[in-house]
């Protein structure tokens, strides 16, 4: 691993502090892709995706190669890219889970309100199950 400078760190911070670019890094973890393929899940233009790719390339997170007419982007074969992918994946996992946990807790809290107001509303096992 070459020595990293503050400038490198700024590039990395900048590159990963954008939800579209984190999405691109995650997509490239599956395998290399063209700009068109990378643009598919996002509602933004091809030139905008190209600009995002340039930012990721400057931060050494991806490399790009020409294959015939098409330029392919792939994740850099460094553990840094692997670490970035892994962290992006878990960051998303927790965020999605937390959103559902919010809903789940709201249901649980509203189930508990009648229980405290009226003793006849006893909580049953089924109420605690999956939605």
């Amino acid at each position: 691993m070459p020595e990293r400078t503050n400038e490198d760190l700024d590039l990395l911070f900048g590159a990963l502090a954008d939800v579209t670019r984190r999405g691109i890094v995650e997509r490239l973890a599956v395998g290399e892709a063209t700009v068109t393929e990378l643009a598919a899940p996002f509602s933004i233009s091809l030139p905008a995706i190209s600009r995002h790719l340039k930012v990721l390339e400057r931060a050494s997170l991806i490399t790009r190669s020409q294959q015939g007419r098409w330029r392919h982007a792939r994740l850099s074969p460094t553990s840094l890219a692997g670490a970035a992918t892994w962290l992006a994946r878990y960051e998303r996992l927790w965020a999605e889970s937390f959103d559902r946990l919010d809903d789940h807790l709201a249901r649980r809290t509203s189930e508990q309100q009648p229980t405290t107001q009226s003793e006849t509303d006893t909580e049953t096992q089924t109420e605690r199950g999956r939605p």
């Binding site: 691993m1 990293r4 760190l9 990395l12 911070f13 990963l16 502090a17 973890a29 599956v30 553990s79 840094l80 692997g82 670490a83 970035a84 892994w86 962290l87 878990y90 960051e91 998303r92 996992l93 927790w94 999605e96 889970s97 937390f98 559902r100 946990l101 919010d102 809903d103 789940h104 807790l105 709201a106 649980r108 809290t109 508990q112 605690r128 199950g129 999956r130 939605p131």
Partner: protein
Amino acid sequence: MTTTTTTPQLALTRIFDAARALVYEAFTDPDQLAAWWGPIGNSLPRDEIEFDVRSGGHQRWTEVFAADPRIRVNVHFNLVQVVDGELLDGTMHVTGQLPEGLEPFETRVRIEFHDEADRRTRLEVRQWLPEHLESPSEQGWLEAFTKLDAMLAA
């Protein structure tokens, strides 16, 4: 555990509008975890969830992917330290048929439950990178990731 001394690479904070006991229960009651845990579209078969929540105990479950039911991820969360209502800390062993060519890995996870005003709960999640993605020369980078994640979670 080999990663206890290093800084966690993932640091997330979230406030939930529910009492601490309820949030803790959502993590430690098998029926409840299945209702909210995991990537969108996954399911956790109830008969493959097995919990023994105490220091030295475990939480085990299987995640089945809706898009491809052949993808079955086995999660064994070996609990090293448990404080009832306050803390779950241990090593998560992730194996099975993982999505997108992901290798099996181990990751330390620490989940803290804190009281907030108005019967709300602050959840602090800390997670450590699997060892195969870590190398000592990258410590600076990993600290940078930690700060970045803290910033994104704020």
